[in-house]
Each structure stands twice: as structure tokens, then as C-alpha cells.
Symmetry: C2
């Protein structure tokens, strides 16, 4: 099965306690694609500028990612500059140059219209809605958003929420979106806005998936996947998008969506997130093998299973 | 198998978003005892004042807890006053009246000397060391501490750490004790100070147990137990001590200590913590049945297990 992702392809300039990098390949759609590519066929819709090289694009193609949906526009590529302190869960944005991303108008190539799954990475909900409505036949839609859209673009965001099956956000975003400090209560309120399931990411504590009653075969109790206790988080950038890539990529590889598949997908999400942060940028996602992924899946199992 | 706990028996005056209570039964040793009493025989060493009634003591006796080690001193019982806001993980202390607890000198009754397990609840590490040295034949020692002792009584605390097998603390305390912001690294550093295993409690995200290499049969990978996503945390007081009671109580009920038992104990710890916060004070721990405990254990399993 194939999955289409729409989102940012960018350059990141960043500093962490372990070093710094200038204008390395980044962006939500990039991390998502490379992560999901270990499970299924991936197609990307994004925009880049004239500074985006053939080598940059080849990073995705080498992993089999179809990049025909990446538009090359006049100007520069989206460029994020930020740093992380000792608390790796908090990024400090120093500069955001949207560049060609500012006027991004997603356009879905004809060859992508038969995609089976869709992931709306964190972009303007107006664009997310447009893309989702252009792909009426997908089997499942996943989506991401952020505090910026929750705080200031509520109406547009609610239209987007009515059109996604699974929303993936973090604790702070969930509490903000529901205006409720209790996670399970917040989860229920968010699902009342549309999503049939909600993945709330807890950073180093893992992630929990909540299910709307009667929406997926196999029960509706929540399910919690761990994160790996890592000695060194070299670069937290892209952890959430890599989680989403593992989660959605695994679902797409299974061809059916039920509670059992979604639970496994939560583990694969955590596995991919744990790999992403081990090295700077997308480096680790590029070099990974399926054997390494399965070995780490087993570690996640040992970390949580009684037997 | 029997377990001896030394710690505070107190009165709590508290306010939460769900209500307030005046001078209700509390204290670390109280929560620990009531929780552990669902698994094994418990004996308490503590001190109370003249305002501590026969009815107060009967709460423990009704659960089979041996209270012959509770000293009745002239003066008033330790009285804590505090409140919780929307963030239930943070207690705000409004007043601490140590009263008879200020000059507490633990004395272990002769009938307690054959206890098989020992738990040193959060008191002055000088006293913890004294009690531990008076009980040389116990099979396993668990211990708790807090930021006050970590910050200002380091030398005494290190003597205590050399004498406990399993330390139970929270994230902030672990990072402070190790002076390291990475949890797995902090865990290793804390275990180098003495404990063979370290339980780090993450509040609503559960708890992780780290093992020192080669100390317990069955491997040394960490293990993470969940917490229950609860809609309403009515009163968070005693959650950590109830966790410790379930954890140590289950271990004592098994008679042997290996990785398998410690993993199950982590689940029972989480189960007892989740019950404790459902109602004010010790109310829920008093009314609980073993059937309810086992049913919730199964929910914890469903929450985390793939199969």
C-alpha cells in the first residue's frame, strides 16, 4: 500500500549539547518520508527553492521515496534555525525563514491520486483541508498540527479535525486544544471534534493512543507505547515526524486498520523516533535496516511486557 | 513474609480541585502500610501525639497492620497542610507542623525483629541508617527520600544509599541526586552510590525500574510500568507511598526477588497508586478488595501489552 505525505521539506541550522550543523536536510515531510519508507511506498508533496540540490532530493530517492510531487520554486527553501538545551524536549527557535514555503500551494500529481493512505504534516489547516478533500478515496488519514494553529486558527483547524481519522499531537497541544488539564478527558474532547483515534506523544515517556468508542475492531481501551530510555539524545529534531512515519508507514504496510494494527504501529512509531534522535538530522533514518528496526521493536517489548 | 515500615504517621489538611479535608489520616507509613496490607503482613514503626485517636489506629488494624511499633508521645501528631492546583503532580505545602515527629527516635519492638523485608519511608537518612543497621537479616531493603535530604544532607544520604537494595524516587529527585538531566544516565549514577535497582516514578506517565548489571536473575534491561490515564485525580496525596506499598508488598508476598517478580511488583505499585488518588486520603485503600486489584492489574496489562 502507498502513502502520500504533504508537508515541509526544509533546511535546519541547529545546535544541541552534542554539536551543531548548518543547513542540513530537514522538514516534517522529509523525516516522515524517510521513516515511513522502511515500511511502505511513500510519495511526497512539498515545495523547495533553488538552493535545494539534486543531492538533497537523492537522499529521499535512495530510500525509494517518490519525490515527483516536490515543486521547485523560485527563491530559497524553508530554513529553520534553533537550538536545544539540556532539556531535549524543548526546542528554542532562533529564526524561521519561510521563503518559498510562505506561498506553498500543494498540488497533487496525477500519479499520486491512487495513494491508499494520507498524512497531513503540520502546515496551515486550510491547505490540509484542501489536500484531504482532493483525496476522497484514501483508506485512512493521519494528521499533525501545532500550538500556532490551535491558538490562532481555530475555525480552520476544526475543519481539518473533521477530516482526519487519527490525529498525532503532544501533551501540551492536546491540553490546549481541549482546554482541559486531564489527558484522558482532553483526549475525549479532541475526538469529539472529529478524529476516531488520538495519539498523544509524551516525549521521553512514550505515547498513548486513545480510541473513540466503537470505531475500531478489538476494543477501545487506550494503549501506551514506551519511548526508549536513551543516554544521549544527539538531535531531537524530527522525532515526532519520525514517530508519525513509523506509525502511518506500518499501518499502510498492513492494509487493514484495527486495534491490533494500531497498537503495533504505536510501537513502530516509538522505535523510529528513538532512532531519529540518535544522530543529527536524517542520518540515522537513512542508514537503518529492517533488521535493526525489528531488534529495537523487541527491546520495546522487553521494556514493557511482563512475560 | 512480613514487611516492616518506618516513617511518618500524620494528619493532613488539604485542598484539591475536588474539595477539601481537615486533619485526615495521612503520612507515608500509613499509605505504605494500607497499600502493602493487601499483599502481606505489615508492621509499622512511627510516632504519634495525644491527638491521635484509637479510631485512627483502628484504620490500620482493620487491614491487619501491626501497630505495636507506633509510639505515643506527649504533644501533637505531625500535621501537614497543603493544596493541589490543576497540575496534580505538584503539591504546594502551606504549613508543616512536625510536632512529635521532630524528635522521633525509631525503636523497633522485639516482635518485629524477625521481619523479612524493610521499607525506609522518607525520613532523616540518619534515622534510616539506624533502623537499617538494627535489622541486619532482612532479605531486601527498599527506601525513599526527597529533595530536602538530597540538597542539604548529602553525606548522611549517601550512607543510607549504601544500605538499600531498591531506591524509589521521582524524576526530579533522580536528576538532582545524580546531577544529570538524562534519566538513564542519572539512574546508573544513583546505582553506583549503592542501590541494586532504582525505581523512578514519572507521575501520570508511570514508572521505570533500572537494574544494576548482574544483580537480579533474568536480565538487566530497564522495565517500564504505566500509570492509569485517570479522568479525575481527587487527591494525589500518598500516591508515591501507595506505589511503594504495592511494590514492596507484592515482593514480600513472593518470597523471592528476581526480575520477573520486580516487573510484576512495578505493575502492582502502579495499580495501588492509581487507586489511592481516586478518593481523598486513605479511603480507597481501606475499601479495596483483592479482586478489584487483580481487575485493575489486567487493565494495566491491556494498556501496554501487544497481544
Amino acid at each position: 500500500m502507498s502513502i502520500l505525505v504533504v508537508g515541509s521539506v526544509a533546511f535546519d541550522t541547529l545546535k544541541t549539547p552534542y554539536g551543531e550543523r548548518q543547513k542540513i536536510l530537514g522538514g516534517a515531510a522529509t523525516y516522515f518520508s524517510l521513516s515511513a519508507s522502511h515500511f511502505t511506498d511513500v510519495r511526497v508533496v512539498a515545495v523547495v527553492g533553488e538552493d535545494f540540490t539534486a543531492e538533497n532530493e537523492a537522499v529521499m530517492n535512495k530510500r525509494g521515496v517518490d519525490t515527483r510531487g516536490i515543486q521547485h520554486a523560485k527563491g530559497k527553501t524553508f530554513h529553520w534555525t534553533g537550538e536545544y538545551g539540556e532539556n531535549v524536549n524543548e526546542a528554542k527557535t532562533l529564526n524561521t525563514e519561510l521563503n518559498v514555503f510562505e506561498t506553498f500551494e500543494p498540488s497533487i500529481p496525477a500519479e499520486y491520486h491512487n495513494s491508499d493512505y494520507l498524512f497531513l504534516a503540520n502546515i496551515d489547516p486550510v491547505l490540509q483541508v484542501r489536500v484531504r478533500d482532493a483525496m476522497p478515496n484514501v483508506q485512512l488519514v493521519g494528521g499533525d498540527t501545532m500550538n500556532y494553529w490551535i491558538g490562532g486558527h481555530r475555525q480552520n483547524l476544526e475543519k481539518m479535525l473533521q477530516r482526519v481519522d487519527v490525529l498525532l499531537i503532544n501533551d501540551t497541544e492536546a491540553k490546549m486544544l481541549a482546554d482541559d488539564s486531564s489527558l484522558p478527558r482532553a483526549a475525549r474532547k479532541v475526538m469529539e471534534l472529529g478524529p476516531r483515534a488520538l495519539v498523544i506523544k509524551h516525549g521521553e515517556y512514550g505515547a498513548t493512543i486513545f480510541f473513540r468508542d466503537g470505531q475500531f475492531a478489538g476494543g477501545h481501551h487506550p494503549f501506551r507505547a514506551p519511548a526508549l530510555p536513551l543516554d544521549e539524545v544527539r538531535d531531537p529534531t524530527g522525532a515526532g515526524d519520525s514517530f508519525a512515519g513509523g506509525f502511518m508507514g506500518y499501518i499502510a504496510s498492513q492494509g487493514e486498520v484495527n486495534r491490533r494494527v494500531l497498537k503495533q504501529a504505536m510501537f513502530y512509531g516509538g522505535v523510529m523516533g528513538s532512532f531519529a534522535v540518535e544522530r543529527f538530522g536524517t542520518e540515522r533514518l537513512q542508514s537503518l535496516t529492517r533488521e535493526e528496526i525489528e531488534a529495537r521493536f523487541q527491546i520495546f517489548r522487553e521494556l514493557t511486557h511482563l512475560d
